[in-house]
Amino acid sequence: MSRAEATGSGADARTSSAGTPGGTPPDPAATGRERSGLWWTFGLFRSELLTTFRRWRTLALLAVLAAVPVLIGIAVKIETSGGGSAGEGGGPAFLTQVTNNGLFLVFAALAATLPVFLPMTVGVIAGDSVAGESAAGTLRYLLVVPAGRVRLLLAKYAAALTFCLAATLVVAVFALATGAVLFPLGDVTTISGTTISFGSGLLRALLVAVLVAASLVGFAAIGLFVSTLTGSGIAAMAATVGLLITVQIVDSIPQLGAVHAYLFSHYWLSFADVMRAPVLWDDVVKNLVSQAVYALVFGSAAWARFSTKDVTA
C-alpha cells in the first residue's frame, strides 16, 4: 500500500480542487452547477456499449444470430442442388427467390429471425440491463458515483437499441455474405414483379435491416421496464422472453383478432412491403407508430419505477 499522492495530481485544476488538503473546501453546490453542462455527455453511453459488447454472452448471442442465415443458405443450397426449388413446403417469405438471387437471403434470414431469435436476444440484453447490475451489486456503485438514475436508464436503453441494430446488421451481413458465396447475385425482382438494379436492391436491404431493428424498439423498452422490477437478471430475461412468446401466440389466434393490432409484434413483417414497387408504406408506418407508443409507455413506466426505487441490492 504505497503512499500514492498521485491520486489527484494528474487531475486538472477543475477536478483536483476537490481534494487538496488545506485548500479551501469546494462548495459542492457550486461545482455541481458549474459541471451540470457535462451531465449529458456520451461517456456513460460509451461505457455501457463497451461493457455490453465485451461480455461473452453478448458475443455468443450475436454468433447464434450470425449462424442462422448461414444455416438457411446451406439448407437451401443442399435442398436445391438436385434441381428442385426451395420453399415449396412453405417456410419464411422470400425463400423461393434465394436460389435466383443471393440478396434475397437477407430478406429471408430477417424474416426467419424477426419473430423469435432477434427479439429473444434483445430480451436477454434489455432484461438484464438493470436487473443484472442489481444482482451483481454494481448498480449501487453506479448510482453513488453518481451516474444519475434517469441518465443511467437512458444510457441503458440507448445501449439496448444499439444492440438491436447490431444484431439485425449481423444477420443481414452474414446473410449477404452467405448469399453471395452460395448463390448468384444480380438484378432484383420485387414482389410486384418489376425489376430493380442490384445497387438499389442493396439499398432496400439496408432499409429493411433498419426497419427490422426499429421493430424491436418497443420490445426493448418492455425489457427495460421488466428489468427495473426485479433484482434478478435471470428472472427479468425469462419474463421478457416469456412475454414475447405469449404475445406471439396471442397474435396467431384468429379468435383474438380484436387485440392483434395493438400487439407490438403485429406489424413486424411489414418490412416485406419495402420490396414492392411502389413501396407500400401503410403497415411500415403503423409498425413504427406502434413501436414509438410502446417505447413511450414502457419507457415512462421504467422511469417511474426506477427513479423512486429503493436500491437495496
Binding site: 500500500m1 504505497s2 503512499r3 500514492a4 498521485a6 491520486t7 489527484g8 495530481s9 494528474g10 487531475a11 486538472d12 477543475r14 477536478t15 483536483s16 476537490a18 481534494g19 487538496t20 488538503p21 488545506g22 485548500g23 479551501t24 473546501p25 469546494p26 459542492p28 453546490a29 461545482t31 455541481g32 452547477r33 459541471r35 451540470s36 457535462l38 451531465w39 449529458w40 455527455t41 461517456g43 456513460l44 460509451r46 461505457s47 463497451l50 461493457t51 465485451r54 461480455r55 451483481a136 451489486g137 454494481t138 449501487r140 456503485y141 453506479l142 448510482l143 453513488v144 458515483v145 453518481p146 451516474a147 444519475g148 441518465r151 443511467l152 423512486t308 429503493d310 436500491v311 437495496t312
Partner: protein, 344 residues
C-alpha cells in the same frame, strides 16, 4: 477539507471553529414495505475531519442508514444531509465528493480490475476523461493492486475484491469516504494496510465514515463513534468519551488473593472481586479532566504504582499487576446490555 481539521485525532471537539457537519441526519426513519422498521428516528452528526466509527450488531439498521445517506433508499420520514445539502435531492452535486464501499465490493467479473475502475470512472459525468488513466493507476497503486490490475475481476480473491472496491472509492480526491466493513475478507496484514490507509486519508483531511463490527478496529482508528441497535442510535460522540464511560479496572495476579483484596480495600479500591489467584477492582473515584479530548485513555487519578508498593510492603506476593483499560467493547456491552454479535 479545512485547515483546522488537518489533525484527525479528537480535534473536532477542541477546535474553536466548528464547521458544518459532513453528515447530518435528523429523525431519519425507514419503514420497508413489509412494515419492518429498519431505522427509527435517527439523529446523527458526523463532524468534518473526523474518523467516525459506526457500530451495531447485524440487522441494527447500519446499512439502511448508509443507503439513505447516499440516496439509494428513500427515507420514510426525516432528513439526511451531506455537506449541508439534502439527500437524495442533491445527489448529483454532492456524491462526486463521496467515495463509498457499501456492503462489500461489487465488480464486473468479465472485466479486468483496471477496466472495472475505468467503467466506474466513466460513469461519473464530472470526472475528467483525460486524467482517467492516471487516476485509475494511482488508485490501484494505493491499494496494492497494481500488479494484478490486468487480471479478470472474477479471478480475484475476496481480499483483492475488497481492495478493488476501496480503489474505486479513491478514484478521485474525496471529502468523505463511506467504508462499510472495509476489512472484511482481508488477512491481518491487509487489515493493517487498510487501517494505515484510513489514517493516511484522515491526515489529508478526508472525513471517514467507517462501519465495522470489529470494535478494536474502531477503537484503533476512529476519533468518533456511534452505536446503533434495533434501528435506533444509542450513543454517539468522541471515542475517548465513550470508552471513558467505563473506567479501567485494576487487576492483580497473586497467590495471596485474600491478603491482596484486604490491602487494596484499605487503599480505597472499590468493587473488589477476588478469584483464584486473581483480584480485580475499581480504582478510587475520578477527580480530573476525564473529558480531555487530547487523551484517548480515561483519566486515572490514583497512581497504580503506589498500590503496588503497598501490596509488596504488606508482604503480598504479586505476579502481575496492571490496569485493564476500559474498552469500547465494555462501553458497548454497558450500553446495550448484550454481546456485540447478538442480532437486534
Amino acid at each position: 477539507m479545512v485547515t483546522q481539521q488537518a489533525e484527525p485525532a479528537g480535534s473536532a471537539e477542541a477546535g474553536p471553529v466548528v464547521a458544518a457537519p459532513v453528515i447530518e441526519a435528523r429523525g431519519l426513519t425507514k419503514r420497508y414495505r413489509g412494515g419492518q422498521l429498519a431505522v427509527d428516528g435517527l439523529d446523527l452528526t458526523v463532524p468534518d475531519g473526523s474518523v467516525f466509527g459506526f457500530l451495531g450488531p447485524n440487522g441494527s439498521g447500519k446499512t439502511t442508514t448508509i443507503r439513505m445517506l447516499l440516496g439509494l433508499v428513500q427515507p420514510t420520514s426525516g432528513s439526511a444531509g451531506l455537506f449541508g445539502r439534502p439527500m437524495p435531492q442533491a445527489a448529483r452535486a454532492v456524491l462526486p465528493h463521496v467515495g463509498a464501499l457499501i456492503e462489500g465490493p461489487a465488480q464486473y467479473g468479465f472485466l479486468s480490475g483496471r477496466d472495472n475502475l475505468v467503467r466506474y470512472d466513466a460513469t461519473d459525468p464530472t470526472a475528467d476523461p483525460r486524467t482517467r488513466s492516471a487516476r485509475v493507476d494511482a488508485a490501484l497503486e494505493r491499494v496494492g493492486l497494481a500488479a494484478a490490475s490486468a487480471k479478470k475481476a472474477k479471478a480475484y480473491s475476496l481480499g483483492m475484491k475488497q481492495r478493488l472496491g476501496i480503489a474505486a472509492a479513491l478514484l478521485r480526491p474525496r471529502r468523505l469516504l463511506v467504508l462499510d466493513e472495509p476489512t472484511n475478507g482481508l488477512d491481518p496484514q491487509g487489515m493493517r494496510e487498510i487501517r494505515a490507509l484510513v489514517r493516511e486519508l484522515a491526515a489529508e483531511g478526508t472525513t471517514v465514515f467507517l462501519s465495522s463490527h470489529l470494535l478494536d478496529e474502531i477503537e484503533q482508528v476512529c476519533t468518533h463513534a456511534a452505536v446503533m441497535a434495533q434501528g435506533r442510535l444509542i450513543v454517539q460522540g468522541p471515542v475517548a468519551e465513550l470508552s471513558a464511560g467505563t473506567r479501567g479496572r485494576l487487576a492483580v495476579t497473586t497467590p495471596d488473593p485474600a491478603d491482596a483484596a484486604r490491602v487494596l480495600r484499605e487503599h480505597g479500591v472499590t468493587g473488589i472481586e477476588a478469584g483464584a489467584g486473581r483480584v480485580t477492582g475499581d480504582l478510587p473515584a475520578v477527580t480530573g479532566d476525564a473529558g480531555d479530548a487530547e487523551s484517548t485513555k480515561p483519566a486515572e487519578p490514583a497512581d497504580p504504582a503506589d498500590l503496588n508498593a503497598a501490596l509488596v510492603r504488606a508482604g503480598v506476593r504479586v505476579r502481575a499487576f496492571g490496569v485493564e483499560r476500559g474498552t469500547l467493547e465494555d462501553a458497548f456491552v454497558a450500553l446495550t446490555g448484550e454481546g456485540f454479535d447478538v442480532a437486534g
